[in-house]
């Protein structure tokens, strides 16, 4: 069974701060790990994906995520956030060759000016 856990429901930081949004997963096999962003009232926007190779993947708007097999984690980071980064962030996992994407519960990021 695939599970995705995002331990922080809410994260609040100031503009210019760095931020890390946590994601842990459980899956017995080869997987794709992704992060998506959902601005208020909108659909999902793709940020980045990991499949293999370099465990640190770069995404759009300065986001990056690091895969750790030993920790079963795929945390999302940004060195300096902007107020427009305020949104809900979803971590997702899908087995390679599979079709079902399992989403975490989401982390609401609030960036204060």
């Amino acid at each position: 069974t695939q599970t995705v856990s995002q331990s922080d429901a809410h994260v609040t930081v100031f503009e210019g701060d760095s931020v890390e949004l946590r994601c842990n997963y459980s899956y017995g096999g080869s997987i794709y790990l992704s992060w998506y962003i959902q601005h208020h009232g909108h659909g999902l926007q793709f940020l980045l994906k990991y499949y293999s190779g370099n465990p640190v993947v770069q995404g759009v708007n300065g986001f990056e995520a690091e895969f750790s097999k030993s920790d079963s984690s795929f945390h999302l980071r940004k060195a300096s956030v902007h107020w427009s980064d305020s949104a809900v962030y979803f971590c997702a996992v899908r087995g390679t060759g599979g079709y079902k994407v399992v989403f975490g519960s989401g982390t609401r990021l609030l960036v204060s000016p």
Partner: protein, 117 residues
């Protein structure tokens, strides 16, 4: 580039009526289409997975009788919410899978937001 369109973006229907939503993959052939629902303040749940020329597979708590899906070709899928009630409100997301090389990517549409009165 690969894009997924959904129509309508927002819709309102009266309780007990039905509402059809569409999903169009542009720029690629989708080997499968998955429909998800995000209820208010919740995450995304898979409703069903549709692969062309295969039976549509519904997740637990979702049925064909309630959410019939049509997937006639590799670029288009539609889903109807029959007899909609308050608990059916939310954002319905379509995800279309594109296979390329030894990898595949799932692209999501912007969603259809359903409000039930």
């Amino acid at each position: 580039g690969a894009l997924v369109y959904q129509y309508p973006r927002r819709t309102i229907c009266k309780s007990g009526t039905s509402m059809r939503m569409e999903c169009q993959a542009v720029g690629f052939q989708a080997t499968s289409v998955a429909w998800y629902r995000q209820s208010p303040q919740k995450t995304f749940e898979l409703i069903a997975l549709s692969t062309v020329n295969s039976a549509i597979k519904y997740e637990q708590n979702f049925t064909q009788e309630k959410f019939p899906i049509s997937h006639p070709n590799l670029s288009f899928s539609s889903m109807t919410v029959l007899n909609a009630y308050l608990e059916d409100r939310g954002l319905y997301l379509c995800g279309a899978r594109r296979d390329w090389g030894n990898q595949d990517t799932q692209y999501f549409g912007p969603g259809t937001r359903l409000l039930v009165l």
